[in-house]
């Protein structure tokens, strides 16, 4: 044993350990690159057939070999943005509560519950959305919106229970823990001296939050929101279960629709040739979009600035790797 230990660690043999870890790291990079390459290469036929019109036409007809991604793109953007709009005030409010208001001894258990929400498998959120939220929306909120605001195009049509609104709400709940945990982490990174300095000027807790905590964590919060957006855009299963899967430009928030991810989930098992290639082109787009969003988020965490959010970046980065997309 002793001899083996010495061989692994001592003198020139130290190199062995070095190369083993290097190999593992390179393997990971190679894996990411090869996934991207395979998906991209296989999407090439669809790109050659449709080019930019893939992104500008809205007919998706596998029978006629006609593929335009506009409905899926729109569905993705609308659900993700709506989800973020609902989740942002809730999660920032929760983060402020956890970081600034809740007594010290309650902070850990409550933060743990929030992080637990992030660990719930998305299919469980999907089931909840389908069996709890959708029926409730059909007769409750959805019906109410259709009855009272149905004259507005975005609330037109029958309240089906499944559709854009339901998917957005499920997504909002799914991204909430990510945004809450990361922005809370950033807020806790604001140095105590700054809080106390503001209190000592005669500020209320509300003023400390709005004038010191939020402004000095704004880039970290922006990063957290982007990670949430990335997750909402990429989410497949839960959305597929509640969005209604109609490959149309959504007529209203109550109507069924489709996202890029849900379209792939729905059609991948039966797709071949150009149809398969079109789905992989969607996947490539999804890959690029989420990559860009994550890069911007990382830039927000790491950008050189006097922003105190930077002080919390280490832990934020750890969270990002654990939960991001």
């Amino acid at each position: 044993m002793q001899a083996v230990r010495r061989a692994l660690h001592s003198g020139t043999r130290e190199g062995v350990f070095h190369y083993v870890t290097l190999l593992a790291a390179l393997g990971l990079v190679a894996l990411a690159v090869s996934i991207f390459l395979v998906v991209t290469l296989q999407s090439a036929p669809a790109w050659r057939a449709f080019g930019l019109s893939f992104l500008t036409t809205s007919i998706w007809d596998p029978m006629a070999n006609q593929f335009g991604a506009v409905p899926a793109l729109l569905g993705t953007v609308i659900t993700a943005v709506l989800a973020l709009a609902v989740a942002t005030p809730l999660s920032i409010g929760t983060a402020v509560f956890l970081s600034e208001i809740v007594p010290q001894n309650w902070r850990r258990p409550l933060s743990f519950v929030v992080e637990l929400l992030a660990a719930v498998p998305s299919v469980v959120y999907g089931l909840w959305g389908l069996f709890v939220l959708a029926p409730w929306l059909r007769t409750g909120l959805g019906q109410l919106l259709a009855d009272s605001l149905g004259f507005l195009p975005i609330f037109a049509g029958p309240s089906l229970g499944i559709g854009v609104l339901t998917a957005s709400l499920v997504l909002a709940i799914m991204v909430l823990p990510t945004i809450t945990a990361i922005s809370g982490e950033v807020m806790r990174g604001v140095p105590t001296e700054l809080r106390e300095a503001m209190f000592a000027l005669g500020a209320t807790r509300w003023e400390v939050v709005t004038k010191v905590i939020l402004p000095s964590s704004k880039s970290g919060i922006a990063g957290a929101l982007l990670l949430g957006l990335g997750r909402a855009i990429g989410e497949a299963i839960a959305v597929t279960m509640v969005i209604g899967n109609a490959n149309l430009i959504p007529a209203s928030l109550l109507a069924p629709a489709q996202t890029m991810a849900s379209l792939i989930v729905n059609e991948f098992p039966e797709a071949f040739d150009l149809h398969l290639s079109a789905l992989l082109l969607l996947a490539t787009l999804l890959f690029i979009i989420t990559l860009i969003i994550n890069l911007i988020a990382a830039w927000f965490f790491y950008r050189p600035s006097q922003d105190v959010a930077a002080t919390a970046k280490g832990s934020v980065w750890a969270k990002l790797l654990r939960k991001g997309s």
Partner: protein
């Protein structure tokens, strides 16, 4: 309007442990009172009780009386938020708001309390920066971030920020602990200036600093006030043997 501070039979607890034990001390108006003592002796806690900053932490408890002027700061009529405006505080670590410019750091308190509007804000900011002996160094670029100044400049910026809301008392918690000798000298000069208009209570680990800038010195040990006296007499002829031991580095 400067006010004296009167502490009577004041005690303070963190949970079960009592860190300030029945201290009575009077900080005369327009004088500098220095609190000295070893780390963890309770002097900072005492200081932070004067603007009720410690109440922000759960599980703390205070007993006794602290009066600013004639007013008991623990009376039901006193709003701690309002009290903190009337009591300026300077911390050990310079803490300008990093997202704000030099100008906005000083204006923060003015805006918070609506003490000035429009052009008046700029005048008040300039006056406070002059009073804090920082104006000449920053007047050409008031828009730069406060965090880009040197440590000593940051601390003077914090003093200017505290001056803006016109406090009656200045509390300083080891304001020179993180500064270089030049920075320390500038702050000490400033404290000697400030005492013409304000009552200053300063916690310091540096006994030479206490002897240089204070009119009155109080020695705190294990939460108790051991001795208080005019600074000159305190250092030349301490009456308590524990004070003498501390001054000659025998304890602490």
């Amino acid at each position: 309007m400067a006010q004296g501070v009167n502490i009577e039979n004041f005690s303070f607890w963190y949970g079960q442990s009592q860190v300030v034990k029945n201290i009575s001390l009077s900080a005369p108006v327009r004088q500098v009172t220095a609190l000295i003592g070893p780390s963890g002796c309770g002097k900072t806690t005492l200081l932070r009780s004067i603007n009720r900053l410690h109440e922000l932490h759960p599980g703390t408890r205070a007993a006794g009386r602290i009066a600013i002027g004639e007013e008991d700061i623990f009376s039901a009529a006193v709003d701690p938020v309002d009290l903190r405006r009337r009591v300026g505080m300077i911390f050990q670590k310079p803490s300008p708001f990093p997202h704000l410019s030099v100008f906005e750091n000083v204006a923060a308190g003015l805006r918070l309390h609506g003490l000035a509007q429009g052009k008046e804000i700029a005048e008040r900011v300039e006056a406070c920066l002059r009073k804090a002996a920082l104006w000449e160094e920053v007047k050409d670029d008031l828009g730069r971030k406060g965090a880009l100044l040197s440590g000593g400049q940051q601390q003077r910026l914090c003093i200017a920020r505290a001056l803006a809301v016109e406090p009656e008392v200045f509390l300083m918690d080891e304001p020179c602990a993180s500064l270089d000798p030049v920075g320390i000298m500038r702050i000490e000069e400033l404290i000697r200036e400030l005492k013409h208009d304000y009552t200053v209570i300063i916690v310091t680990h540096n006994m030479h600093q206490a002897s240089r800038i204070s009119d009155q010195t109080a020695f705190v040990l294990n939460g108790e006030l051991v001795e208080v006296g005019r600074t000159k007499e305190f250092f030349l002829a301490p009456t308590d043997p524990r004070t003498e031991a501390y001054l000659t580095w025998k304890i602490g």
